[in-house]
């Protein structure tokens, strides 16, 4: 087995810095209202893109299971709400899809 320590430390650095710098630079400064709205929209646009990316990048053989799993999570959280139930329902749906 190779050691991946150098890779891990490099990844640590490039993961940590983008998380840290905005907190330090923005937390004490007044922000333009339009830019503030831009920042407040990000949770929704980020989630939309992350979900779509997840479904599109599903590894081969997992496409249908991922799509159905996410669909079940959508339906479940729309009608019932609750993260826990949705996640479990989704994993079970993916499992059933893969088993068929």
């Amino acid at each position: 087995m190779n050691s991946y320590l150098t890779l891990i430390l490099g990844m640590t650095l490039v993961t940590f810095l983008p998380r840290l710098l905005p907190l330090i630079t923005l937390s004490e400064r007044p922000i333009h209202p339009l830019f503030r709205r831009f920042l407040l929209y990000i949770p929704y646009t980020a989630l939309g893109a992350l979900i779509v990316r997840g479904v599109m990048q599903a590894s081969s053989g997992m496409e249908a299971a991922t799509f159905i799993g996410v669909g079940v999570a959508a339906a479940c959280s729309w009608y019932q709400g609750g993260l826990i139930l949705s996640v479990f329902a989704s994993i079970i749906a993916a499992y059933i899809t893969l088993s068929m």
Binding site: G10, V14, L23, R37, G48, V52, G69, L83, I91, Y95
Partner: protein
């Protein structure tokens, strides 16, 4: 309490990571260090994928950097909602900013306090670490189809975070659908390095949202 759903969602995903790392011959110690030091689900999965493909470490680090640029925006979006916090605590909060903890934190109303964020992120971190080790050690005993199904939990979690907000606000629906559409277009055009598609989709969709939408779905939370 807000951290509990993250644990439920994170644990199986972390297990999937531990499992996958083992299949590409990464040692248990290194797998643990990935989760301990990097603490970024998408990046870690991508790294395993690239290790498997024999990509050079420097290229993996660059791809990780691109993938994590989205946290610049997430971190900036949290920064405007933080309570007064001593500067020396900021690195701890920063370390715990993941897609999931960010999503939960950003759906919370009111200013974000240090204890809230530390609890949320601390629970997520512990779930991530314990899930990684569990997956590495016992994951291979699970049936293969169940192993594969665990990873879907990640996107189910994103969906379950987004959906309650969509029910409350048409703007949220428009923003997320539009962002997804931009991502699909970028993916189809395929001119950008893949890590950039997500970042550009978020920027473009949020920017157009600022220009087109009138009221502000996040306003009540400021």
């Amino acid at each position: 309490m807000a951290g509990i759903p993250i644990v439920i969602g994170y644990f199986p995903v972390a297990m999937a990571f531990g499992l996958l790392a083992r299949t590409v011959n990464v040692s248990l110690q290194d797998t643990f260090f990935f989760s301990l030091l990097v603490f970024a689900g998408a990046s870690q999965f991508m790294a395993i994928d690239l290790i498997k493909a024999g990509i050079a470490p420097l290229d993996i680090i660059l791809a990780t950097f691109l993938l994590n640029l989205r946290h610049l925006m997430m971190s900036a979006s949290l920064a405007v909602r933080l309570e007064e916090i001593k500067k020396r605590w900021l690195p701890f909060i920063a370390f715990g900013i993941t897609d999931e903890s960010f999503s939960v934190a950003s759906m919370k109303k009111g200013a974000l306090s240090f204890p809230f964020l530390m609890t949320l992120q601390g629970i997520a971190y512990l779930a991530w670490l314990s899930g990684t080790v569990t997956g590495y050690l016992i994951g291979s005993v699970l049936p293969v189809t169940l192993q594969n199904s665990l990873g879907v939990g990640l996107y189910a979690m994103f969906m379950a975070i987004l959906m309650p907000e969509i029910k409350k606000s048409l703007n949220v629906l428009l923003l997320s659908v539009f962002s997804g559409a931009v991502y699909i277009s970028l993916d189809f055009i395929n001119v950008l390095p893949s890590g950039w598609n997500l970042i550009i989709a978020i920027i473009v969709a949020s920017g157009i949202g600022v220009m087109v939408l009138k009221d502000d779905p996040g306003e009540e939370r400021i």
